[in-house]
Structure formats: structure tokens, C-alpha cells
């Protein structure tokens, strides 16, 4: 039993396993990029004809690679590998950092990446730094100095941060919820459609009602969305008279309630357009900006506000989705003449047509349903803590450089010393070499 344990432990500590996991993860991640992971299983099978490939596809859950059993195994192996490496190496490093062997001996001198034996007249003290330690033993002067002794633990901080992120992610995916709600203007809903890649979507019921009071869409002149927002209210299930909370949500401005977060993500139009939206203003310098909005049905005639004349009526005859490649437009009748107004060119009417009024076609009025993505992510704070720890760890690992300097001065005659210098550094050897050379060069002319 002990032997089996030792064997397993050795396997998990080995760096070969780490590299194998890295390669495995790389392949897994890439393979997931080739298939649309949001598509339904039927969509995938529409492209797969061979039954064998279909079986392999199902066995390896290629429709949802990142939640498949084998991806889970890889992540688990990585976690075990990280934990095993920390258990195997961290205690030794910690003890070594806390109680370093300060006295230079042959094995340290052999191991050192930088070393020099000098014959000097007098020592320049401090030898390495103000904080160096020095003591005398049997007439021999010893020196020891270590910079950033705990920098070697930085790697393990990064690794523990990764464990935090993995652990938090597991909590988020297992206990969390991520789905979509579609609510029509003026209606309420408590159902969330859960995204379930490759499988049938599930319904999740909220224990409260989400009501969409109003949906507002502002578009650019080419009808692409400029901004959209939903005015939401939340009601409890038994009392739908007074709302608990009201908020207008926009893209990048969500609503949080009851552990859930509601994000404005999309919108849909429902059925046929309600009416056509036009703005009309009197011509002439003073009235240019004084537009009045009208919402008119096709075939409907309206009297322009502030007028009584029979000729000051507007009738919409027709709507064009794309009029002669100029985009959407409407044909109107006014004062016994018919003309076309384009949505894309609001200044066109004023420039081209003579008449009493400027008419701008703002677009169609639709019934909207708002698309709200709903998430609940318990454990997200663990993931974010992991992020923070990771940057601290990265800074310690790469920003601080653990270095050790050793020296001993053996008096050879009454005036001269034999000075033995050694330095150990695991990272940035070139920079360390230069630093060491500087120390040595101090004795060049002595």
C-alpha cells in the first residue's frame, strides 16, 4: 500500500506529467474551438454522416468539450499535479529560506553559478550589502547575504491561485446558473432558459417575477442599434401589485437581485410593426427644430398638429424595406402629391421637396421582447481572489530575484587575505553575472 502511494506520489510530482497535461490541455482547447460549442446536438449531427464518427463524437462529448468527462480528468490531473508539487517542494524551500546555511563550504562553492578566488590587501566592507551578516570563526571572516529569500515561494503562490480559480470555477459551473429570459413589453416571467450545450435546454424557475415595463431602442441611421434598455420591475410571486425593485438595465449596466444578475443582452421584435414613426416640422427658420412625433398606421390619415386646413393632412401609403437600394423608406401623400421619404437620409426631404413641412421618417414601431441573460455565480469571489493572488504571485516570482552571496576571507600573511566569493542565483543568470563582476572588479587594482 505504501509503495503504491509512493509510486502515485512520484508520478504526480513529476514534471513529465505537467508537460503531458499542458499538451493535452492545448489539444483539448483547440479541438473545442473547431466545433461551435453553443450549437445543439442536432446541428452537429446534420454535418456528421458516418456512424462511427458520430459514436466517437458522442463518446468524447465533442459538442461540449469543456464540460466533458475527459476535460474534467485533465483538470483534475492538473490540480493533483499542482498540489503534489507544492507538498513535495514547498516545505524544503521554506526551511531553506528560513534557515539558510550561511557558512560557505566546498559543496556550496561547487554549486555556485558565480565564483572567484582573489588575493586582496584589505576588504571593502560591506562586501555585498548593508544587510549582510558577518562573523569570525577561527580567525576566518565569513560573509553571507541573501536578497528576497522568499521569492522562491512565488511560484507556489501562482499555483495556489490557479487552484483557487479552478475550485471557484467548479462551484460556479456546478451551483451557478446561466440562461436567458425573453420577456415581452408589459409582461412578466419567472422562467429562465438554461443554456445546455448539445443537449435539450432546461427551464429554471425563479422564485419571483420579472416584469418588463418598457423596452426602448435607439438606432443609428443605418438601423443598427445605438443603445437599448429595458425598464424592469421585480415582484414577489404572491403580491404582484407593488414592486420590490425597479431598475432600467442597459448593456454593461445590469440589475442584481436575490443572488441573480440580469444583463441586457438582446432584443427581438414580435409580430408585425405596430405603426410608423414620423416627425414633422414647419418649414422656416424659427421652426426648424420643432419636430412633432406621429405614430401612424399604413393607410391612416392624420391632421398635422396646430393646423385646421384640409390640405395639412398626411397619409402613409406604403412602406418599403429597401427602396432602390437606398434603404427603408415610406411613400406619403400630402397636399395631393405623393413622395418618398428615406430613413437613411433625414435631410433629403428638406433639400429636395418644396412644401410647407419637413418630414422625417424615424422608422417602424414594433412590439419588442427584451432578451435578458440571467446568471447566478456563487463562488465567483473565489475566482476573483484567485486572480488577485495570481498577480501577487507573478510579481514575487518574476519581479523579485532570490540571490545568495557567500564569502570568506582567510588571512594568508599579516597583510593579505585570500577572499573566496560565491553567488547562487536561479533566475536571470546574465544580470547576476554582471552584478557579481561588479563586486569582483572592486578588487581589480588592489
Amino acid at each position: 500500500m505504501n509503495r503504491l502511494y509512493a509510486l502515485n506520489f512520484r508520478l504526480f510530482v513529476s514534471l513529465k506529467l505537467t508537460i503531458a497535461i499542458f499538451i493535452g490541455l492545448g489539444i483539448a482547447l483547440f479541438s473545442g474551438m473547431f466545433w461551435d460549442q453553443t450549437a445543439l446536438l442536432e446541428d452537429h449531427f446534420a454535418n456528421i454522416t458516418s456512424p462511427i464518427i458520430a459514436k466517437i463524437f458522442l463518446l468524447f462529448e465533442m459538442y461540449d468539450v469543456y464540460h466533458s468527462w475527459w476535460f474534467g480528468v485533465l483538470i483534475l490531473l492538473l490540480a493533483l499535479n499542482l498540489i503534489a508539487c507544492s507538498i513535495a517542494r514547498l516545505p524544503n524551500i521554506w526551511i531553506d529560506a528560513k534557515r539558510p546555511l550561511k557558512k560557505i563550504n566546498d559543496s556550496i562553492f561547487k554549486k555556485a553559478s558565480q565564483k572567484k578566488v582573489l588575493n586582496v590587501k584589505h576588504l571593502k566592507i560591506p562586501l555585498f550589502s548593508k544587510n549582510e551578516e558577518t562573523w569570525k570563526e577561527n580567525g576566518i571572516q565569513y560573509f553571507f547575504y541573501e536578497q528576497h529569500p522568499f521569492a522562491r515561494c512565488g511560484v507556489y503562490i501562482v499555483h495556489s491561485a490557479l487552484l483557487f480559480i479552478m475550485f471557484g470555477s467548479i462551484i460556479v459551473t456546478q451551483l451557478g446558473i446561466s440562461g436567458l429570459m425573453n420577456i415581452q413589453e408589459g409582461k412578466s416571467s419567472q422562467n429562465v432558459l438554461i443554456n445546455n450545450a448539445g443537449k435539450i435546454n432546461k427551464l429554471h424557475q425563479l422564485n419571483f417575477l420579472v416584469h418588463c415595463n418598457q423596452f426602448k431602442l435607439k438606432t443609428h441611421t443605418d438601423e443598427s442599434p445605438f443603445e437599448y434598455e429595458s425598464d424592469l420591475s421585480i415582484y414577489s410571486l404572491d403580491d404582484n401589485k407593488s414592486s420590490i425593485i425597479n431598475k432600467t438595465i442597459k448593456v454593461n449596466e445590469p440589475l442584481e437581485y436575490g443572488g441573480y444578475t440580469f444583463y441586457q443582452s438582446s432584443y427581438n421584435t414580435i409580430g408585425k410593426p405596430k405603426s410608423i414613426n414620423i416627425s414633422v416640422a414647419n418649414r422656416g427658420k424659427d421652426n426648424e427644430d420643432k419636430f412633432t412625433n406621429y405614430h401612424i398606421q399604413i393607410g391612416e390619415t392624420v391632421q398635422i398638429k396646430g393646423t385646421n386646413d384640409f390640405a395639412d393632412k398626411i397619409k402613409i401609403l406604403e412602406y418599403f424595406e429597401d427602396y432602390a437600394n437606398f434603404g427603408s423608406a415610406i411613400r406619403l401623400e400630402h397636399d395631393n402629391s405623393q413622395f418618398v421619404v428615406f430613413k437613411k437620409y433625414p435631410e433629403f426631404d428638406a433639400e429636395v421637396r418644396n412644401g410647407k413641412f419637413n418630414i422625417i421618417f424615424n422608422g417602424l414601431d414594433w412590439n419588442f421582447s427584451t432578451g435578458i441573460s440571467v446568471t447566478k455565480s456563487p463562488g465567483i469571489s473565489i475566482v476573483f481572489t484567485g486572480f488577485a493572488i495570481m498577480f501577487i504571485g507573478l510579481y514575487i516570482t518574476f519581479g523579485m530575484n532570490q540571490r545568495r552571496y557567500y564569502a570568506k576571507a582567510i588571512p594568508t600573511s599579516s597583510e593579505r587575505f585570500e577572499l573566496i566569493l560565491a553567488g547562487i542565483c536561479n533566475r536571470y543568470p546574465q544580470a547576476f553575472k554582471k552584478e557579481f563582476e561588479q563586486i569582483v572588479n572592486q578588487y581589480k587594482f588592489l
Binding site: S169, F226, V251
Partner: protein
């Protein structure tokens, strides 16, 4: 009035001249000539930076106009809202701008290396990439369109800035690793040359096959593959001459390591800022979007590079090969998504 495009043209001209001088200097090998080329590319870099600042302002005006048209309200000049809208559209929000921004990052990283280490060939390679990127950008649609609602966020700044420098540093690390491999071998066996040729041909046809059509992107990627091949063949025929021009092994390894380390740390910033942004904007910090996943693969590759170096002592050719691999993963993860090699996702900002 001068527009950003004028500045980009001046900058492209500077880069082309600098590239020309650097190539000449491979044979000439004079310090003052190298200095002229470096000054010229630094000037080009400044022009490009200025061009991007102007582009930022131009985009701001477009946003301002769009805001006024869409909401029907007038914005008072120099009010708080005015500044918010003018600055919300940074010059790295569509494909055209991203390409220019990538070339900017490439030159930035190269200039730092050039001032620090003065490595030969690396300057030629980086400028070649930057010039190619600027060339492709001139064929791309450069009109400024108002930002889509999802991109109106301050996270875009840090996220994209780190991504540009991370990818560029990774690319420079890969170039340096490539030179290392060439320099390390006394003689490249002819079998390797044949292998490279086959790989280049298969690779370029593969790109075209995956994408379905021949586009300027395919052509430039293919061109880049063949440029590397030509360089390898040149090294085969003039081994002594070219190898003596390549910087020392120690220096190349140092440059590759430093660049890849920086790229690794910046990729961590890219991933984390992306995750935070996605969390606050869409409610999910990680969505396995192809580009996200691609960035993660790059990060894992570089993690592997660092681990093998530190704990298995894979310094030299072995680690250089992982460094080179990183470049192809960057290309797949960064460009591949936009070229439609993978499933579509949030980051596909146009493929024209």
C-alpha cells in the same frame, strides 16, 4: 486637414526605408547606419502614435454625431458627457484598427529590443511584419463606425493594450528562437530543408483550404511562411556568412526568454481583464469563446516554455522550438478566429 490615414502613410514610408537600410546594413555593418535606421523607425513609431491619437479623436467625433442623431439631443461642447463620448472609442475597435495597432505593438517591442540589445535580423523580421500589417490594413475597410453597445466599456483599454504588446513580444520571442535554432546547428541537413519546404507548402495550402477562398490574409500568411523558407534555404547555401551575422546564441536565448516571459505575464493580464469585463458586461467570466480559448492556449504554451526551462533545464534548441510553436498558436488564436478557421464568437470584428 491631415487625417490619421496621412500619418499612417508617413509612418509606413518610414518603416519601409528603415527596413531597407537595415537590410543593406546586414552587409555593410556600420553602427552609424544602424542608428539612422533605428531613428527612422522611432520617428515612424511616433508618427503612428500621433496618427492613432488623431484617429481616436476622429472616432470621438463620429460617436458624438451618432449620439446626437440617435438620441436627438445636442451635447454642449466640453461638458462631462462630451468628453465621455469623445474618448469612449479607442483606435482599436475594428479589424482595420486592430491590424494597425498590432503593427504599432510590434514596432514598440522591436524598438525596445533594438535599444537594449541591437540584435541583427530581428529588426528586419519585425519591421517586415509591421510593414506587411500596414499594407494589409490599407486594403481593409477604414471607415469609422460607431461602437456597438457591448464595446462601450473602459475595460477595452487595458484588455487590448496588453493583448497587442503580449502578441508582439511573443512574436519577437519566436523570431529570436527561430534564429537560435538556425545558429545552433553547424549545418542544416538537406532532409530538413525538404521537410520545411513540404511543411510550408502544406501549411499554406492548408490555410487556404480551411478558409475556402484565397484572400489577402491567406496570401500574406503564405508569403510569410515562404519568406521563412527562403531564409532557411539561404542559410543552407551561405552557412558561414549568415551564421556569422546572426547574434550570439546567449543573446538570442536571453531575448527569447525575456520576450516570452513578458508575453506570458501580459497574457495573464489579458485573460483576467477579459474575464472581469465579461463578468460585468455579460455575467459570465469565461465563455469558452474561440478567441478566449486561443488566448488560453497561448498562455499554456508559454507556461510550458517557462516550466521546461526552469525545472527540466530545456535551455537551447528544445525551448526555442516551443518558442517558435508559440508564434503559430498566436497566429491561430489571434488571426484564425477572424479568418473563420473556428466557430464564430464575440471577438470576430469583421472579416473583410
Amino acid at each position: 486637414m491631415l487625417t490619421s490615414i496621412n500619418f499612417y502613410s508617413i509612418c509606413a514610408a518610414c518603416y519601409v526605408f528603415a527596413l531597407f537600410i537595415y537590410v543593406l546594413n546586414l552587409g555593410f555593418n556600420r553602427e552609424w547606419v544602424r542608428r539612422i535606421a533605428t531613428t527612422l523607425s522611432a520617428f515612424g513609431f511616433l508618427t503612428q502614435t500621433l496618427g492613432m491619437a488623431i484617429r481616436w479623436f476622429e472616432s470621438g467625433l463620429v460617436e458624438l454625431n451618432a449620439y446626437q442623431l440617435a438620441t436627438g439631443t445636442k451635447i454642449v461642447n466640453k461638458s462631462a458627457l462630451y468628453w465621455k463620448i469623445v474618448t469612449q472609442h479607442p483606435p482599436w475597435s475594428n479589424l482595420y484598427e486592430i491590424i494597425i495597432y498590432m503593427s504599432w505593438g510590434m514596432v514598440f517591442v522591436f524598438l525596445v529590443c533594438e535599444i537594449k540589445w541591437k540584435p541583427r535580423f530581428l529588426n528586419v523580421f519585425s519591421l517586415l511584419l509591421a510593414v506587411t500589417a500596414l499594407g494589409i490594413s490599407s486594403l481593409t475597410d477604414s471607415t469609422i463606425k460607431p461602437l456597438v453597445p457591448a464595446l462601450k466599456s473602459w475595460w477595452i483599454m487595458l484588455h487590448v493594450v496588453s493583448a497587442s504588446v503580449a502578441y508582439s513580444a511573443g512574436t519577437l520571442g519566436a523570431m529570436s528562437s527561430f534564429l537560435y535554432v538556425l545558429k545552433n546547428k553547424d549545418r542544416i541537413p538537406i532532409s530538413k530543408i525538404v521537410l520545411y519546404t513540404i511543411l510550408a507548402i502544406v501549411g499554406s495550402f492548408g490555410i487556404i483550404l480551411i478558409n475556402g477562398t484565397v484572400t489577402k490574409w491567406n496570401l500574406s500568411l503564405t508569403g510569410f511562411l515562404f519568406a521563412i523558407l527562403i531564409f532557411v534555404i539561404l542559410t543552407y547555401f551561405f552557412p558561414v556568412k549568415i551564421r556569422s551575422l546572426i547574434p550570439s546564441l546567449e543573446q538570442l536565448d536571453h531575448i527569447a526568454y525575456t520576450n516570452i516571459l513578458i508575453s506570458f505575464i501580459l497574457m495573464a493580464i489579458v485573460l483576467v481583464t477579459g474575464a472581469l469585463w465579461a463578468h460585468y458586461a455579460w455575467g459570465r467570466y469565461w465563455g469558452w469563446d474561440p478567441k478566449e480559448t486561443g488566448a488560453l492556449v497561448i498562455w499554456i504554451t508559454y507556461a510550458m516554455y517557462l516550466h521546461t526551462r526552469l525545472t527540466r533545464n530545456w535551455v537551447g534548441t528544445k525551448s526555442a522550438i516551443i518558442g517558435i510553436l508559440g508564434f503559430f498558436i498566436i497566429i491561430a488564436g489571434f488571426l484564425g478566429v477572424n479568418l473563420g478557421w473556428f466557430a464564430n464568437g464575440l471577438h470576430s470584428y469583421g472579416n473583410s
